[in-house]
Structure formats: structure tokens, C-alpha cells
Amino acid sequence: MIITIISAILILLGVVFFFGAALGIVRFPDFYSRTHAAGKGDTLSSFLVILGFAVYQLKDFHSFSHDWPILLVILKLLAVSLFIFMTSPVSTHALMDAGWEDKVKPEIGEGKPNHLNDDSEKF
């Protein structure tokens, strides 16, 4: 029972972060900030949801000799989240770099330092 509650809490936390990422994709003004929402929010929340389901697998775990396949499943689930952690930020990074090459203008508010709109200076 305690395992189910822990996993439910982790999964709900992940769903909350998914909601944040979805909100960011709609509400943010320009491409770069949307990429930021997609890269960070989705990665963390998918990690949390998958971790929650991995914890839930432990409910059938009674003894090591009978239930070792469950440990294998948990290992694979953790591998899924690890690879999402590696690939999702890299692809958003590549996209952001391509956007800079593609001359997508970032949106800067009034009165802010505006060096990002200067094409001559690439950070």
C-alpha cells in the first residue's frame, strides 16, 4: 500500500510538471523560450512519471529468487528515463542552434538590454 501511495505521488508530481510544460509551449512568446519549456519540463516530468511506475513494480516483489524479473523491468524503466534525459535536451539544443543559424529573432521586452538582436555578436 505504501508503495502504491509513493508511486502515485511521484506520478502526480510528473503530471503537474507536464502541465507546466504544456502551458509554456502555448504561452511563451518566442521560439527560444518555447524550446526551454519543452526541453526542461518534459524531461523532468517524464523522468518522474516513469520513476513512479518503476516504484509501483516493487509491489509484487517478495523474494529475490522468484521475483528477479521485476528488478530487470525496473532497470529497463530507469534506462528509458536515462535515455530521455540524454536525448531530449540534446535535440532541443540542436534545434535551438539551428534556430539561431536560421535567424529566428528572439523577442525582447521593452527596456531590456537588446544585445541578442545584434547579429554581429554571437555568444
Binding site: 535515455f83 540524454m86 536525448t87 540534446v90 539544443h93 540542436a94 542552434d97
Partner: protein
């Protein structure tokens, strides 16, 4: 709106209307007693036979693999031949086979320029991930008896790993790992492995692709395990062909058949 567009809408609406009308006579979705799933009275359904008897016949828990490589092995063999033929068609259309005979110049591994952050991040991650993807592809091919997977899936994933190499550095780097001559050889070897299993059964005085007679060669206990092991061999053949042809399609398409300076 163009005239052809109006005619297209008329044709599509008529076809779709007829099909929508016909759908109303279908058995409902998910019905276990529909004619495709259950036995017609007086005869045994073939899919019910596959579900109930397949494990006894072949000792393979994944029913899809056992039906794919054993009961319908002849079909799968010619599906593989179709993929091979598609690869040959692409070579014929884009004209790349035998384009250059001298070996490719062995260049240095492309080094990173200072400040080229994108190349460093993407290149390093791909270098870390490609071995994992290749090991995973081999796992998918080999473990296809017990979990979803098999030759087609594993071959496609293996080809995708080479495509990732080509995307993270350049096409030359991928072609150095799997060159033009080698992928052609690999595609042919895959089909020869598949057909070889069939001919081997014929040599042992049985039908084409009837794996049960291979028991004295494979040294297994019982013809069921012989069928299981032969399926593994057949899947490996499929994986060779699919890997080679999928990578060949990408390499030719991305460089217009020249195999140089691709995407």
C-alpha cells in the same frame, strides 16, 4: 479551385460513402466471436490453432514470431526479397553502384573547431549513444522469441544507428563503418542465409523451410527446439538484409546517389 480538385472531391466522397455504408454490416469492433477470430461451425479457425498449439509446436512464447518465421516462413522470405528488390531499384534509379572503384580516402576523424558548441554536444552524445543503440538492436534481434522484436525491428534500429552516425558527423564517417561494397554483400548474405535454411531442409529430404528435420544438425533435444533455433537463424538473415537496405536507401537518398556530401 482547380477543376481536378472538384473531381477529386466527388470521387473521394463516392468511394468513402460506399465504404461507410459497407462498414455498417461489419461485426462490432473488439468482438471475440467475429468470423476473423473465432471458428466457423464445422471447421477449425487457423488463428485459434496458432494461439493454442503454437507453443507446443515450436517452444516460442511470442506467437507473432513463430507464425512469422515458421508457419508463414515462405511469405516472410519473399517480403525480405521485396525489400532487397526495393534497394536494387534505388541503386538503379539513382545510379550509384560501381560509381567509384578506388577505395575511399582515409581521412582523419573530423575534429571539433573551437567554439563549435553544437558539434561538440551533439557529436559527443551520439558517440555515447550509438553503441547503446547497436547493443539494443542486437538484443531485439536475439530476444525476439520471448518479447516483441525480431529481425525486421532489430534491423531497422541497427540501420538507424548508422544513420545517427551520418547525421552527427557526416556521411563519410558512416560509410567508413559500413561501406558500399559491404552493405551490398550484407544484403545478399541475409537472403542467402534465409534461403539456405530452406534448402538445407530440402537436402535432408523434407519440405522447404520445414525446420523440424534440422534436429541432427543443430544438436537440439526434439524437433521443437530445432524449429526455435532455426527461427533465430532466419531472423538474423532478415536483420542483415533490412539493415543493409535501409542504410543504403538513406545513403543514396541524402546524397542524390553520389554517396558524397549528404545531408
Amino acid at each position: 479551385m482547380r477543376l481536378s480538385s472538384i473531381f477529386a472531391i466527388i470521387a473521394v466522397v463516392i468511394t468513402g460513402g460506399i465504404l461507410l455504408y459497407g462498414v455498417s454490416d461489419f461485426p462490432s469492433f473488439g468482438d471475440p466471436k467475429s468470423p476473423a477470430n473465432a471458428a466457423v461451425p464445422g471447421s477449425e479457425s487457423v488463428s485459434q490453432y496458432f494461439i493454442t498449439k503454437s507453443y507446443k509446436d515450436t517452444k516460442v512464447p511470442n506467437l507473432v514470431t513463430s507464425v512469422l518465421a515458421d508457419y508463414r516462413g515462405y511469405d516472410t522470405m519473399f517480403e525480405t526479397v521485396v525489400i532487397f528488390a526495393a534497394g536494387m531499384a534505388i541503386f538503379a534509379i539513382l545510379g550509384s553502384v560501381g560509381g567509384e572503384s578506388q577505395p575511399r580516402v582515409q581521412e582523419e576523424e573530423s575534429s571539433f573547431v573551437d567554439g563549435d558548441h553544437s558539434r561538440i554536444i551533439v557529436g559527443t552524445t551520439c558517440r555515447l549513444l550509438v553503441p547503446v543503440i547497436q547493443v539494443f538492436a542486437l538484443y531485439v534481434i536475439g530476444h525476439g522469441h520471448y518479447s516483441p522484436g525480431g529481425g525486421f525491428q532489430g534491423g531497422v534500429i541497427l540501420a538507424a544507428s548508422f544513420i545517427i552516425i551520418a547525421l552527427s558527423s557526416d556521411l563519410d564517417a558512416a560509410l567508413r563503418r559500413l561501406s558500399e561494397v559491404n552493405y551490398l554483400r550484407l544484403a545478399c548474405v541475409g537472403i542467402l542465409i534465409y534461403a539456405g535454411f530452406g534448402v538445407l531442409c530440402q537436402v535432408l529430404e523434407s519440405n522447404f523451410l520445414d525446420y523440424g528435420v534440422l534436429q541432427p544438425i543443430l544438436l537440439t533435444d526434439g524437433p521443437e527446439m530445432a524449429r526455435s533455433h532455426s527461427m533465430l537463424g532466419v531472423e538474423i538473415g532478415v536483420a542483415f538484409t533490412v539493415t543493409a537496405i535501409m542504410f543504403a536507401i538513406y545513403a543514396n537518398l541524402s546524397s542524390r546517389g553520389t554517396l558524397r556530401d549528404g545531408l
